[in-house]
């Protein structure tokens, strides 16, 4: 019963994902259609399933909040609304996709090179890492079933308000809740409240199940996405690398919103990369817009993620204008898809909770940190930020099992694929990562409080927002094991060896 909300969320998200990401990868002739030793296209199915939960849960969280605002207090009504929107979306796109899919028809030939024969071993290593993190997460949750501070002071606490319905949900955004954060986006808490309402009781199993679901979705998005963009061997390798930082265990076990934030951002980025690899497929850009707009409803940092994804989609569409006369269509698809949730968020932030919003005020902040100009010129703030980044990097893994050590080993032993570093997908991933890091840096510099104090408590969990994209960047630029394979000449028969020897002798004498 506790898993019912998860299953319903997956079902709600599956239809739009399948409609907007229909074998998109086959448009890219370099992407393999097979996923390791498994037949068919399980990578695509895995990606669908992994994207479905974040999409479905976000849609349900938002629909639940919208209906509560309208005075409709029923979890099934919220689910019905999401299913109706998803179904309509799917039906509309199914009608149009016939001609388009003909253009994207895959080649019938096999992959360029046979898969790495040790993929099964890499799959075992990936499974080991996933199991270890899940077991460790379960161990922490057994001792701390309500999660950590931000869970019971913000996210799950507001979920309890939403679960009570009947006007109690307004406590989540009430100015009297100012000791916490009434101005924070409500989507995640709304989904938790909806889930509790659905199962009929407030228990610790529901938020824990949601945490597991987001973690598994993130693993699936990164692994399956790399499998579609590159090779299965790299996909299997990416999973243990993704899970190396200790925060990939502690943040999910803390039941913080940073994991859903990282998952939604990775989902948006991966779908955009698949779209860019598929000549800026309009449907991929539309799905990216939906995911990006949901980012803003998870955490405040989502605004930065939405802006960066929009800028990258626009930039790469603009760069492709020579060969794509209708270059604006993917950008328009992104904008139209992102608009509803983004505009709803703008209303929430500037109209619904304006007093509680950090954007609304400013007097207090300048009093503590000086003017914006002073903060930018204050070099000690940069030193504090660098110090905190160094401390965070020093503590997210052991010396020999440090996340950066994993990335270095992969890059050193596989090498960099120079041709791949010029591919639009790789350049787009780099641009996203660079812009996101730059955006975070600017926001740290402009913080009203001393950045050292704030980052000491938050930098570890913020790492979850961009770490998946860093893993994707590295695995987009490495060579694959298959790239390094050397063909061995077939063993010759005795007669053929004699003939070859005679030929070599004639060659030495200069005979033609």
């Amino acid at each position: 019963m506790d898993l019912l909300p998860i299953l319903l969320a997956i079902l709600a998200g599956l239809a739009p994902v399948a409609a907007l990401l229909p074998e998109t990868h086959v448009a890219n002739p370099e992407t393999p259609r097979r996923f390791g030793f498994l037949p068919g296209t399980p990578a695509l199915l895995l990606l669908w399933a992994s994207l479905a939960f974040p999409l479905g849960s976000s849609g349900i969280g938002l629909a639940n909040f919208a209906l509560l605002l309208a005075g409709i207090d029923s979890p099934w009504a919220a689910y019905g609304l999401v299913v109706a929107i998803s179904g309509t979306f799917w039906l509309l796109l199914i009608r149009r996709k016939q001609g388009r899919n003909a253009r994207l028809a895959p080649s019938s030939g096999p992959d360029a090179a046979p898969p790495f024969p040790l993929n099964w071993l890499l799959a075992l290593v990936a499974a080991l890492s996933v199991m270890a993190v899940l077991v460790a997460m379960a161990g922490i949750l057994a001792k701390s079933p309500h999660g950590a501070w931000d869970s019971w002071a913000i996210w799950s606490l507001r979920g309890k308000f939403f679960a009570a319905g009947n006007g109690f949900w307004r406590n989540a955004v009430d100015p009297g809740f100012h000791l916490s954060h009434p101005e924070y986006p409500v989507m995640f808490s709304s989904f938790l409240g909806w889930s509790w309402r659905l199962v009929g009781m407030e228990n610790v199993a529901v938020p824990q199940a949601v945490g597991y679901a987001f973690l598994l979705s993130l693993i699936g998005i990164v692994g399956a996405g790399i499998g579609l963009l590159r090779r299965a061997s790299l996909a299997w390798m990416s999973v243990p690398v993704l899970l190396t930082p200790i925060v990939m265990m502690t943040v999910p076990a803390s039941l913080y919103a940073d994991l859903p934030m990282g998952t939604l951002s990775a989902a948006a980025a991966m779908v955009l990369l698949l779209g860019i690899a598929s000549s800026l497929d309009v449907r991929c850009c539309a799905l990216t817009g939906i995911f990006a707009s949901f980012c803003v409803w998870i955490k405040e940092e989502g605004l930065l993620h939405l802006a960066v994804l929009g800028v990258v989609a626009l930039a790469f569409a603009w760069l492709a204008r020579q060969r794509e006369p209708q270059w604006w269509r993917p950008v328009a698809a992104f904008a139209v898809s992102a608009a509803p949730a983004s505009l709803f968020f703008a209303w929430f932030r500037f109209v619904f909770v304006p007093g509680a919003s950090r954007f609304a005020g400013g007097g207090g902040s300048s009093a503590t940190g000086g003017s914006l100009f002073d903060r930018v010129l204050d070099l000690s703030r940069y030193a504090e930020i660098a110090d905190q980044i160094w401390r965070m990097l020093a503590t997210i893994g052991g010396l020999l099992t440090h996340p950066l050590m994993f990335l270095a080993v992969v890059l050193l032993l596989l090498g960099i694929h120079r041709q791949r570093t010029k591919s639009p997908a790789f350049l787009a991933a780099c641009a996203m990562l660079a812009l996101l890091w730059a955006g975070y840096l600017v926001s740290f510099v402009l913080l009203s409080a001393r950045p050292g104090t704030v980052l000491a408590a938050s930098l570890h969990r913020l790492w979850v927002h961009t770490w998946p994209l860093l893993v994707v960047v590295v695995f987009l630029m490495t060579k694959t094991p298959e790239d390094l394979a050397i063909p061995v000449p077939a063993r010759l028969s005795r007669t053929e060896r004699k003939g070859a020897k005679a030929a070599r002798g004639r060659s030495r004498k200069g005979e033609v």
Partner: protein, 153 residues
């Protein structure tokens, strides 16, 4: 199709990935075993079990505490209490001076009735471990009746 041979560094990578993954997997499980919950909730649920049914129907109640709101200790006491009491919102008395029902949350054994009187409150019921439920005292104005004792739901 020609037979393929892979360079030694590919096998080295597979071996290193396996060994390093095994290393951090074991350390994650060990770290989880050593994990200590800094805010055990079991005590809070037991402490507030009596008061919760009495205020279950109230959307908001006032909150009175003997800690300085500017100190971390205040938040450390407020949030676990708020989490257990939710969906009722605890609004600090400074923000809700006219709250009819107030939850007192104290860390020291004191004269809780005297503390309440300073804020125009009278105790409804005292619970163990510093939890007190107050209501606003009868006001002299006729239009401001004494709130009825909340009934368990």
């Amino acid at each position: 199709m020609a037979e393929l041979r892979y360079p030694a560094r590919v096998y080295l990578l597979v071996a290193l990935l396996g060994a390093m993954t095994l290393g951090y997997s074991l350390s994650r499980i060990a770290e989880a075993k050593e994990y200590q919950d800094a805010y055990p909730f079991r005590a809070q649920f037991a402490r507030l079990a009596g008061v919760k049914p009495l205020i279950a129907g109230e959307r908001q109640v006032g909150y009175l505490c003997d800690q300085d709101p500017r100190r971390q200790a205040y938040a450390r006491l407020y949030f676990p209490t708020q989490y257990v009491i939710a969906p009722t919102l605890l609004v600090p008395l400074e923000d809700a001076p006219s709250a009819k029902i107030v939850l007192g949350n104290f860390t020291r054994q004191e004269d809780y009735a005297a503390i309440g009187r300073k804020h125009g409150l009278e105790p409804v019921k005292e619970f163990p471990m510093g939890v007190v439920l107050y209501r606003r005292m009868a006001a002299p104005a006729p239009g401001n009746p004494v709130p009825a004792l909340p009934q368990p739901q």
